[in-house]
Amino acid sequence: MKQPELDSEFSIIREQGFSLSNKALVQIIQEVLSRGRSVRLEVKGWSMFPCIRGKDILTVSPLDGHASYIGLPVAFTNPSSSNLVIHRVIGQRQDAFIIKGDCVSGADGVIRIKNILGVVTKVERNNRLVRFGWGKERWVITFFNKTNLFFITSRIGGRLPIFIRKFIKKLFFK
């Protein structure tokens, strides 16, 4: 039998911006979160615009038994596609969340807790921490999400949701 060939030297490669497949990403996130630790990953897509944007870096942590997750972005696997999605909780039942992206017209529907990977606990943009979205303003954001206001305004004018976000921020961050 032919012996497998071995390269003469090992190499350990640090991969920056490594592109994992969706399935791989979910597996690793599940493994890390199951140990009670958090993961840090880059956002792809704009369905949470203007609160979370493409290329933002998110920290996702395990669910920690909050009484209410309403208004918080969570990472979950879409039950039909198994894709990793990060959208906002707009309703909560005992064993499931109702979830929807801020800047999309349709809700993801009722997502069972077993499909929820974790909750977003930190957003970094251009190496700066984004503090917006975790205080009382999250209720206003949830209202805008539910009523499709971010979605509609993004269709009217690309930057309009950013002005709305700035307005909400002015109300809550003096």
């Binding site: 071995l6 030297e9 350990i12 993961v39």
Partner: protein, 103 residues
């Protein structure tokens, strides 16, 4: 940081490491300060590194691993030893490996 490696020692992956075989590629994510950084801290190993990593399971000493790999790949143990010690040192430096026992 100088790390002394004893070929008689047994090493195993740190509990702060997630390693997964994904489509034939070994992906290693260290968890540093409670966070697995999928943006900046993903590591992969080449075939040699992977063969060594798979035997760093807390059961075999480095000397035994050298022998096993030399057998698997029909190579001289002296050739393999440098790689085994080198990778072990590298992984220890990065906190991906811990000493399980010393023989």
């Amino acid at each position: 940081m100088d790390i002394k490696i004893n070929p008689g020692s047994i090493y195993k992956p740190s509990e702060d490491v997630v390693a997964r075989d994904i489509q034939g590629e070994l992906i290693i994510v260290p968890i540093t300060s409670g966070i697995g950084d999928l943006e900046d801290e993903i590591f992969t190993l080449n075939e040699t590194g992977r063969a060594i990593w798979e035997k760093l399971d807390g059961k075999n000493s480095l000397k035994e691993i050298t022998g096993l790999i030399a057998q698997d790949f029909d190579a001289a143990p002296q050739e393999i030893e440098t790689d085994v010690l080198g990778l072990t040192e590298e992984l220890l430096k990065r906190g991906m490996l811990v000493e399980a026992a010393r023989t």
